[in-house]
């Protein structure tokens, strides 16, 4: 028993070195055969790595932006269509809530020193917004509680507005007419680069005014949409249930009066989507692997036919059928393994280039590498099986007769 294990080991060791010399001896043909597997594995690795890199970039930008926040949108009841300022104060007072920024926006015609621009995006902001985005104001001051309480006619203008209306003039202190109402410019803000995704939802605002003022200009006193910032160490489910508990009495426990959306649920959706994308692309790429496997099978069948003399000779020299089978299996295994390893390296290189070009993070997925190498090795054994079996069953006489 021990002896047969040892001789098997010796045999397999010899088969590996013999198959390497056979593969090397037919360089061009081996390369072309391996190409199918190589392309397949490259595609699998490149797609999976790129997709997981892109999705981790998306997730991290979501996290940096939306972690710790909850969006609430109010559809309201017949009696009450939104939240008053006092309601918002009640919500802000919750221990789970750090602060609230209401979303109030309007499109307005802006006039200043004889020039008019219509359809300007004006956004109502709470003082808490400036607490969150401390660096946003470059000149002048932020909007504060006093502005909020008094619904003051003050505004902040974006860099873009400055270049439109106040070219080379300090805008602070100037007067701006929004839908005919005079506003005093108290400061200037730079476009918030980090709010890339938020601006997709709300549009890019060029003028900030106190949200209470914005409500007035919309002829309303009620907030219908706002973002809640959670206190530190509070989970979004804790915060949502606290919000629900506070919101329900405000709407007399009527159903369907508001919707609470946590970032967790958006992240989950994103993850499911990118996961599906990776699976789909991986599936398409594995078709290439199957095609590559057929290429290997074809090459091995040709090899068996070509090497009938060698097979017959080896049988005459005492090789058992299983030894012949193992030799050919190892050869196809080695072939596809070489293709697989080369494919993994090429795939990683490609996705590194991709990630540089599209600016996503480069994440080496261990699972993808195991999948690529493992799949190619499996392809080698699977598609090498039939040719190897054919070789092992070759009658030594028929094999030697072609001498």
């Amino acid at each position: 028993m021990l002896k047969s294990i040892r001789s098997t080991f010796i045999m397999i060791h010899e088969c590996i070195s013999m198959s390497i010399s056979n593969i090397w001896g037919n360089k061009v043909r081996s390369f072309l055969t391996v190409l199918g597997i190589l392309i397949g594995v490259t595609a699998v690795i490149a797609l999976i790595t790129t997709v997981s890199g892109v999705s981790s970039s998306i997730t991290s930008s979501f996290t940096s932006l939306g972690a710790g926040t909850i969006s609430v949108s109010i559809s309201g009841s017949d009696l009450k269509s939104g939240l008053t300022r006092d309601d918002l104060k009640t919500l802000t007072a919750l221990t789970e809530v750090d602060g609230i920024t209401p979303t109030v926006s309007l499109r307005a015609q802006v006039t200043c020193s004889g020039e008019t621009q219509s359809n300007v995006n004006v956004s109502g902001k709470s003082s808490y917004y400036f607490h969150l985005n401390e660096d946003i104001v470059t000149h002048g001051r932020e909007l504060n509680f006093v502005d909020e309480d008094n619904s003051s006619f003050v505004c902040l203008v974006s860099d873009e507005m400055v270049s439109t209306f106040f070219f080379a003039v300090n805008p602070v202190g100037a007067t701006l007419y929004i839908n005919g109402t005079p506003f005093t410019v108290v400061g200037r803000f730079k476009e918030d680069s980090s709010s890339g995704i938020a601006s997709i939802f709300s549009g890019k605002a060029n003028i900030f005014i106190p949200y209470t003022t914005a409500l007035k200009m919309n002829n309303s006193s009620l907030v219908t949409s706002f973002t809640v910032y959670m206190s530190e160490g509070v989970t979004s489910s804790q915060a949502s249930s606290a919000l629900e508990a506070a919101l329900d009495p405000m709407f007399s426990y009527e159903e369907d009066t508001y919707t609470i959306t946590t970032m967790d649920s958006i992240e989950d959706t994103m993850e499911t989507m990118t996961g599906m994308m990776a699976t789909l692309l991986g599936g398409i790429a594995s078709i290439a692997l199957v095609v590559g496997g057929i290429g290997i099978m074809n090459m091995m069948l040709t090899t068996v036919t070509e090497r009938t003399v060698e097979i017959g000779l080896k049988k005459a020299l005492g090789a058992k059928p299983w030894q012949i089978q193992v030799q050919f299996l190892i050869e196809s295994f080695m072939l596809s393994l070489i293709g697989g390893i080369a494919g993994v390296m090429l795939g990683l290189l490609l996705s590194l280039v991709f990630s540089e070009v599209i600016g996503s993070t480069f994440v080496v997925s261990g699972g993808a590498i195991v999948l690529g190498v493992g799949f190619s090795a499996a392809v080698g054994i699977l598609f090498g099986w039939a040719p190897a079996r054919k070789a092992s069953r070759l009658n030594p006489i028929d094999a030697l007769r072609s001498m």
């Binding site: 040892r6 080896k314 049988k315 005459a316 020299l317 005492g318 059928p321 006489i397 030697l400």
Partner: protein, 232 residues
């Protein structure tokens, strides 16, 4: 069926199906060989002598008849057991030496030992000794295409003997060689036989067959004893 025969064949027939017709390649062949004998089978091409050699060499099984090699009934063995028997008992030499072109001389000689499961070190030692014996000590690391026909056939002889088989089966061992080289190979065969190894040689060349101690003739699948030629 005495036990001191090296092998014993009784009423061996081999039929092949050629299209619709059954062609009888071997017809009731009876042949025995003693241990240490040097026998040659002489016959023209198509006489069935290669088929006979394949059956003796356990590469093929007879259609009918009885073949006993070293006390074992060959037709009862599986293909794995036949391979085992070939590995231990039989050394083959073919007409065109049949070396693997991608292996050096010494690696070619090592080949049977790989299938027998011999350790690399021991393998190398035995292959080296065998190549020295056939006079190729300085050609061990040459590839077959760097060797002359005679040298290639010597490598093939070394390969056939390296597993220490009890019988050497040679199919036209000098067929591809010039006369002078052929003579050298025959001298080598004589030395091998002198050491007690059984040799069965198949040839169509009467002059070559004459080197053996006993010659049998085969014509159209029928074997006839040709007498002792050792003193011819």
């Amino acid at each position: 069926m005495s036990t001191n025969h090296f092998f014993h064949m009784q009423n061996i027939c081999k039929d092949y199906l050629m299209g619709e017709e059954v062609s009888h390649i071997l017809k009731n062949v009876n042949l025995s060989i003693e241990e240490g004998e040097y026998l040659s089978v002489l016959g023209p091409s198509g006489s069935g002598k290669s088929t006979l050699m394949n059956i003796i060499g356990c590469l093929d099984v007879p259609t009918s008849g009885n073949y006993i090699l070293q006390g074992r009934t060959v037709e009862d063995l599986t293909s794995g057991e036949l391979a085992d028997l070939r590995s231990r008992e039989i050394g083959f030499i073919f007409q065109n030496s049949q070396l693997l072109p991608r292996l050096t001389a010494i690696r070619n000689v090592e080949l049977p030992l790989i299938y027998a499961g011999v350790r690399p070190k021991e393998r190398r030692r035995r292959a080296t000794a065998m190549l020295e014996r056939v006079g190729l000590a300085d050609r061990m690391y040459h590839y077959p295409n760097q060797l002359s026909g005679g040298q290639q056939q010597r490598v093939a002889i070394a390969r056939a003997l390296v597993g220490n088989p009890s019988i050497l089966l040679a199919d036209e061992p000098t067929g591809a060689l010039d006369q002078k080289t052929g003579k050298q190979i025959m001298e080598l065969f004589q030395t091998i036989n002198d050491e007690g190894r059984t040799i069965l040689m198949i040839t169509h060349d009467m002059n070559i067959a004459a080197h053996a101690h006993r010659v049998v003739h085969i014509i159209d699948g029928v074997l006839t004893e040709g007498g002792n030629t050792s003193d011819a």
